[in-house]
Symmetry: C2
DNA sequence: ACAAAATATGAACAGCGTTCAAGATATTTG
DNA sequence: CAAATATCTTGAACGCTGTTCATATTTTGT
């Protein structure tokens, strides 16, 4: 007997409900509150039911993180070359960084979960989800190619990763007020400065 | 009755043994393995004994992290202006960044715990420990003051925090191979580039 | 040496992710 | 349509976590 439609439908519906509930819990209470029992209670199913739909709780978290990345992708879309973005490459990159900064402030918990989780997780993050991360880095690469048409593709990706990591570090430590509290204005000014200074100081060719 | 010497001695000795054991477990197996029962077994005491010496398990972790910071402080000491460091300010800052990078590679688990922990922890990290972090940032400030004698002190600290956060971001995401694996050589080259480019691109005054 | 006070202990508690025998449900067969 | 069969769902239970507290032990004052 092949899996009937009834169960497939139910599982699919449950899957969506679980992700919805996970999203709500995460954005409201943070990653530590995103427990198997909490989502089960939220959607009114048994704890075991989660494991019929996801490999483990990390699978659910990855699904929620995937939604977060999609939201982030939309947020920064206006600074991605190719569409209606008429900005100079440098301003485009600064726009990306500032937008990233704003997203982190607006969706603190969900944004933090993107990285906290991959640190805490035991098994590898699935390729399809890492590809979603890489996709965003690709947006940076697009601007870099315009800025430095002669640069080899591999170098562009390296530089894009460098720029993102640096901006991310500033936002991550700044938001949790690691050394001292940094208000959002300051944060945006800092990442702008960082991006502009880095690009300006880059060795020619 | 006032606490006698016998118990005070025993507690002090136990405290050191617990930190030693915690250090060993952390460096060998990472933060998730640093559990109350694991350290208790390692030093041969009861689990409850830990709570006679530390407020909670986080207290022990902070104590271990404090040791890590001391090691890091020593590692980067040769790039701190004031002593036998005869380097130009810029080279000094690059040296700090590269040394930080090397430390992260050499003590991956202990280094990662410095930040993973403060993300996961509920209560605030004690001031004395945050001061230890700030102390290291102070080393960056020293070089910045030489590089830009006219810069206001507050700006120096902001810039120092920015530089550290950026370098940290690159090392953190690079070491866990977030987008793609980055070998140590590449990592050191990247942080050097980042620091030099940022300093070079900084607006004058 | 003895009583009193302070301290160390580890079983027990609440929570976590995860599993699996057993009950509930859908599907196929007669 | 009913019986038989295959599949899925459930929640109690397992092993783990940090933490607590009645109890046993040790130290201290007389």
């Amino acid at each position: 007997m092949v899996t009937g439609n009834k169960t497939a439908e139910r599982r699919h519906k449950l899957r969506l409900e679980l992700i919805d509930a996970g999203e709500a819990i995460l954005s409201g209470q943070g990653l530590p509150a995103l427990t198997a029992r909490a989502v089960a209670t939220a959607v009114g199913c048994s704890v075991g039911a989660i494991y019929n739909v996801f490999e483990d709780i990390d699978g659910l978290i990855v699904a929620v993180n995937s939604r977060t990345l999609a939201k982030l992708d939309q947020k920064i879309s206006s600074f991605v070359p190719g569409g209606e973005c008429g900005l100079e490459p440098e301003d485009c990159l600064v726009g990306l960084a500032v937008a990233y900064c704003q997203f982190a402030v607006e969706h603190t918990h969900a944004w933090a979960a993107l990285f906290e989780h991959s640190e805490r997780i035991s098994r590898e993050i699935p390729d399809w989800h890492m590809d979603e991360h890489v996709h965003l880095i690709g947006h940076i690469v697009k601007s870099l190619r315009r800025l430095r048409p002669g640069m080899p593709d591999d170098d562009s990706w390296q530089l894009a990763g460098l720029l993102f990591s640096a901006v991310h570090g500033v936002v991550a430590l700044g938001l949790q007020g690691f050394f001292f509290a940094v208000p959002q204005r300051r944060l945006e000014a800092q990442v702008s400065l960082l991006v502009r200074a880095t690009l300006a100081g880059l060795p020619r060719d």
